[in-house]
């Protein structure tokens, strides 16, 4: 089991009466590619932050790759995230003052082992993601949005995580770049046999996924 949520409730502040998320039970199998869709403001990003261990819930069990995130300390969750979960967002996926290679190298320093051969791995990833070599040493703020998002995948995958969480990563891209991004991403996911949890409001992406979920089906709203 890649992800298993049981009886979680999440609310910002002390508003426990109307929680933003209220999930009785939800699970993702290893190797699944899940698209979670729904209108904005219903807690999709919050769910992603809970899965990555950045946010904790007041109640319930959050189990990722068989480990209970809700029982870990902040430090343990940070380490777990660095080692096992890759994340890609709509934008600000890269440290603007570092170049592509250094962004990937920085992500590598946070993993427990710290891959000594990360440079070769990064080069392989960037090549697979069709990021031209000329752009590797440029400050990432000089790269196009499409390039930035592809470098972001490389950054997210450098520590060989088992799960990739993507939060609207294609929303800033035009349709051509979007399709290019998705086919490259899916290629790597399949090749590495990873679990993908992908949030988008765009139902047109459905064909790339093995499972479709509306957030409103996952969470039980009290109203």
């Amino acid at each position: 089991m890649a992800v298993q949520l049981t009886g979680i409730q999440f609310s910002f502040g002390d508003d426990h009466q109307r929680p933003l998320l209220d999930i009785d039970h939800w699970a993702v199998q290893r190797g699944e590619r899940v698209l979670i869709h729904g209108p904005s403001g219903v807690g999709k990003s919050t769910l992603m932050n809970i899965l990555s261990g950045l946010l904790t819930c007041a109640t319930g069990e959050v189990s990722v790759l068989g480990q209970r995130l809700d029982q870990m300390s902040v430090r343990q969750r940070d380490q777990f995230r660095a080692d096992n979960i890759g994340c890609v967002f709509q934008r600000f996926n890269l440290i603007p003052y570092l170049n592509a290679i250094d962004n990937i190298g920085l992500a590598n320093t946070f993993s427990a082992g710290g891959n000594g051969r990360w440079r070769e791995e990064a080069a392989a990833l960037l090549t697979a993601l069709t990021v031209h070599k000329d752009s590797w040493a440029k400050p990432t703020s000089n790269l196009s949005m499409g390039q930035q998002q592809r470098v972001a995948i490389a950054r997210a995958l450098i520590n060989s995580p088992e799960i990739l969480i993507a939060d609207e990563p294609t929303s800033s891209l035009d349709s051509e770049n979007r399709d290019n991004f998705l086919s490259l991403l899916m290629g790597l996911i399949k090749e590495r046999d990873m679990t993908l949890i992908f949030v988008s409001h765009d139902m047109a992406l459905a064909k790339y996924f093995t499972r479709l979920e509306a957030l409103s089906d996952i969470t039980d709203k009290p109203d």
């Binding site: 919050t46 932050n49 990555s52 950045l54 946010l55 902040v74 430090r75 940070d78 380490q79 995230r81 660095a82 080692d83 994340c87 967002f89 600000f92 996926n93 890269l94 440290i95 603007p96 003052y97 570092l98 250094d102 190298g105 920085l106 992500a107 320093t109 946070f110 993993s111 950054r155």
Partner: protein, 411 residues
């Protein structure tokens, strides 16, 4: 990689980083500079007189004797009779003596009656002897040798006639106008009271007061152990002496202090000078306080700049947290940025100070006789830099803590 992140992060905020760096560099320049000059001044002060083993004068306080004999400040309580001077000069352990006779002035500058021995045996600094910038020592009774500052302030050079006045004010009523002295030499700057003194031959003082006409008779002679000038003054103000062996310093001091003929005392110039410097502690501390405040302002400014930057860095914080960076990592990142600024500031401030000392060294030596060393990395300098680093870390704690809490609250 951590270092690279910190430097690159600073580089993106070039403007504020450079301004902060300049503030820190200036503070370090001031701090190190003041400490350096303070030490050099103390060393230079402590060696206003060197090579002189004892200073002998009428019984008074040791500081008073030092002040009037070396610094020409204040007035002697009592003179020494010529006979007493002779008796002590003839002691077996005494190698040489420099008589000092005070009481006259010229344009506000003190006149010292002495002998050729003064130029021979008086040392200052690290055993540096007096050097002549122009001319030479006394040859005739009415010859005068000027200190560097006297010559430059009054515009005198060799050959100038000067009239001495009895007493110390420049408008003294009693002027010895019938006895003009002739400048025969000008000394190189020493950074000691010698620069502000007019030296004349002891015989000249006697002759002037006795009303002897300016005589072509040379009565110049060096004052050695066994030989004193032909014309004998009744008394002198004080005298300095050198010993054959420093081991006998305390024996001779006791002999002088217990001298039977009249109440005399002998002081060790080094001891008395450091006693005097102790009294200037307050000024040293004020200087230190000021430079510490300058540093405080600089590191607080740096803290404020870093603190303001945290607000623009929320996306960066979020991203680093997502990558797996702990809040502690982000705390250290801000501290590291502060350390980089501090180290660069030290480098810049230290280098500018070094260059400034190199450039100003010659001017300071020729103008003030203050010899400035350029080695600023002394033990004290290192201590100061260590303290600066600690101050930096403390000042950067506020933005670092803010970074830490922001990292913890990321969602």
């Amino acid at each position: 990689m951590f270092l690279k992140v910190a430097t690159s992060s600073l580089m993106t905020r070039k403007g504020s980083a450079v301004m902060t760096l300049m503030a820190i560099s200036v503070a370090i320049f001031v701090l190190l500079g003041i400490e350096h000059i303070r030490q050099q001044a103390r060393d230079s002060f402590a060696s206003t007189v060197s090579g002189v083993d004892l200073i002998v004068g009428g019984k008074t306080g040791s500081l008073n004797l030092l002040l009037y004999s070396v610094f020409r400040i204040g007035s002697p309580t009592d003179n020494i009779s010529w006979q007493a001077y002779q008796d002590i000069a003839q002691l077996e352990d005494v190698a040489w003596t420099i008589p000092i006779s005070l009481g006259d002035s010229h344009e506000g500058y003190r006149v010292v009656g002495t002998t050729h021995a003064f130029f021979e045996h008086y040392h200052f600094g690290r055993k540096r002897s007096l050097a002549f910038a122009e001319g030479g020592s006394f040859a005739e009774t009415f010859d005068a040798v000027l200190g560097a500052e006297v010559a430059s302030a009054l515009g005198y050079t060799t050959g100038t006639d000067i009239i001495l006045a009895h007493g110390l004010a420049s408008t003294s009523f009693t002027k010895h106008e019938s006895k003009p002295f002739v400048v025969v030499g000008v000394l190189a700057p020493t950074g000691t009271p010698v620069d502000q003194t007019i030296h004349v031959h002891l015989d000249g003082i006697e002759a002037m007061h006795a009303g002897v006409a300016r005589a072509p008779v040379s009565i110049f002679s060096a004052v050695g152990k066994n030989q004193v000038t032909g014309s004998t003054p009744e008394s002198i103000t004080a005298f300095m002496l050198g010993l054959n062996s420093k081991l006998n310093t305390f024996t001779v001091q006791r002999q002088v202090n217990q001298f039977k003929g009249e109440p005399l005392m002998a002081i060790l110039p080094g001891v008395a000078l450091s006693e005097l410097w102790q009294m200037m502690r307050i000024f040293e501390n004020v200087l230190r306080l000021i430079s510490t405040l300058v540093l405080l302002a600089a590191v607080l400014g740096m803290g404020a700049v870093l603190l303001a930057s945290i607000r623009e860095r929320h996306q960066e914080i979020h991203l680093l947290r997502i990558m797996g960076a702990s809040p502690l990592y982000l705390f250290c990142l801000v501290e590291m940025e502060a350390i980089i600024l501090c180290l660069l500031g030290m480098l810049l401030g230290g280098t500018s100070l070094y260059v400034a000392l190199l450039l100003l060294g010659d001017t300071m030596l020729s103008r003030f006789g203050l010899y400035l060393e350029t080695d600023i990395l002394t033990h004290e300098g290192a201590t100061i830099l260590g303290a600066v680093l600690i101050a930096t870390l403390v000042a950067a704690a506020a933005p670092s803590v803010k970074m830490y809490t922001a990292a913890k609250q990321v969602s």
